[in-house]
Subunit: 353 residues, 2 copies
């Protein structure tokens, strides 16, 4: 498969960050893939602590770490000078360096040379592999559920990861499929769809959830929103290539305008459902909405319950906040979709090679 | 502006081609921009003849030619060895080399070195300039009409060029805006939208038809089709970024399936109109269809007339074949659109710098 693939276990590199806002990628890895994280490395004593064992590069190498993952993001996305010695040392010892910075790792001579000598890879999760195909539109085996947003940054990745976790707990055969850089770091593989050349968008989305066994669910991270003046094309390419049997609308309670595009009102959830069905039925006529995932962080506990209940009544669909109560109601509905009629209970964590 | 810009006048290079099928780009330049074409150069005596004066590279340089445009396409898109001496000589004499081949001109050491010495540019019209913005969705001044297809290769570029020609004849202020490689060669500028990284698709489309005077029409070449399983995302990004006041549906009479994607039936023209209005109204709520352009080459003359009349009756819109009868009926309708209420008659060929 033409996707990016990381080699675990990981050492999470936190630079000199002191504020959790800038180490969300590292925190996401610890939250969702704790078993793959061997240790953390901060350049300062009072830096962010993700709760992992502290390790030097040498200690990590001795512990079998295969990748140093940059879990800190700097405004501007460059590689600070103070990071260089650590990254170069890791590459020299054969660890892959994994990052989603604006600057290309391979464009840094010290890193390139160290990696060439040791055989380590410099993996830029913002960059797409070459050789992507044009979308074929051909139906693939297996089942797919796509996260669809009313906007960017409403919880699509979180919802998909929570669905994967909760499906595994129930013994279902499911895999999170990452379409953005943070998701790729967490999943260990994927394609950054926003970085794909337009002609190959739906082809890349097809690669992201390849043919699979009939009982297998791909739980696909969404991108953007079909109502976004800047990013709607990415959302459509992902929708058409994913051929989802089911989708979950993701929304942040209280958000009324497209974030950063204030002239554009947020679509209603009904509009998102209608448009996703209209457009998605091109490559999967059976597409259906199975529920709504709400980021309700702006609401109090009482308010949240009545908000979700009222929304559920209005739409006739399960509505959950995955951070508070999980996604079981969505999964129940997912298993009732016609596409899911052949679903079998399967060993947890099943993953097609 | 961040678009590709060619420097006329041109020498059209035809290689050793003997069949017009493979010199369509050169023929398009002669058909639509004859005044910019100073001569043609074929490597063989009985090669394709576009009706231009035959010139050697030296003669072209003496005649003030500033760009050698590769007007021949080879299957596979590489640069044949037999072309090299000619291209290198032209680059050495300071002529830009313009091509839309799969192989990058700049990746060819002989051409790169010749161009570096003389200051010539190697312009690859398949490649996008760097630094494209994300689409803002902000309304721009001026008016825009976009070609929208039922499929690829149904006459969108031809219709846009015919509209520009016929609008200029009527003294209207209009510019063809090229979104694909052949169109860019003809227009002398533009952006190959299918080669843009997805995140910047509608931003690139915004650059393609920048703010302009109130009486100015951008006549924008369309891409793909909103109902195409491989390319719909490109079509949507172009639609949202173009913010068209008006659109023309382009269709080939008799085509019933998406060409090359035979499992997918062609949408009806009504479906294309409905979806284009639904999606396009995000960035221009006034969007309206002004008519249909039919490639009727599969029909006889009698059949064509009744086909167009019947279609026009069915849709309540002007329906033309621009190759046979021009686009005046579309222009009449265009000038009646609400957005066009402030249209003034203007000197022909007006072009904003």
């Amino acid at each position: 498969m033409n996707t990016i693939e990381l080699r675990p276990p990981y050492l999470i590199f936190l630079g000199s960050e002191t504020h959790p806002t800038y180490t969300k990628t590292g925190a996401g890895l610890v939250e969702w893939r704790r078993e793959l994280c061997r240790g953390q490395l901060s350049l300062i004593d009072d830096g962010v602590d993700l709760g992992l064992p502290r390790m030097s590069v040498q200690e990590a190498a001795a512990a079998g770490v295969r990748s140093l993952v940059v879990g800190a993001a700097r405004v501007g996305g460059d590689i600070p000078d103070e990071w260089m010695d650590t990254l170069e040392q890791a590459a020299s010892l054969g660890m892959d360096i994994v990052a989603g910075l604006h600057v290309s790792l391979a464009a840094t001579p010290r890193l390139r040379e160290a990696a060439q000598r040791s055989g380590a890879r410099l993996l830029d999760v913002r960059k797409c592999p070459a050789g992507l195909p044009v979308g074929s539109g051909r139906k693939r085996s297996g089942k797919r559920v796509l996260m669809v947003g009313t906007d960017c940054a409403v919880g699509k990745k979180y919802t998909a990861l929570a669905l994967e976790r909760d499906m595994h707990r129930r013994g279902l055969n499911a895999d999170f499929r990452a379409s953005g850089q943070t998701g790729i770091m967490i999943a260990g593989c994927g394609l950054p769809l926003d970085a794909v050349v337009s002609d190959f968008l739906s082809g890349a989305a097809e690669l992201l959830s390849p043919a699979n066994s009939d009982d297998h669910w791909d739980v696909i991270e969404g991108q953007g929103s079909m109502f976004h003046p800047g990013y709607a094309a990415v959302s459509l390419g992902l929708l058409l290539g994913s051929q989802p049997d089911a989708f979950v609308v993701c929304h942040e309670a209280g958000r009324e305008r497209i974030s950063g595009w204030d002239d554009f009102p947020l679509p209603t959830i009904e509009q998102v459902i209608e448009r996703t069905v209209a457009l998605g039925s091109l490559t999967n006529p059976a597409i259906a909405c199975v529920g709504v995932s709400i980021n309700s962080s702006s609401l109090g506990a009482d308010e949240r319950d009545s908000y979700l209940a009222e929304l559920s009544r209005r739409l006739g669909l399960p509505c959950v906040d995955p951070l508070r109560g999980g996604t079981d109601a969505l999964i129940e509905r997912l298993l009732q979709t016609p596409a899911a009629s052949c679903t079998d209970i399967h060993s947890p964590g099943g993953r097609q090679s």
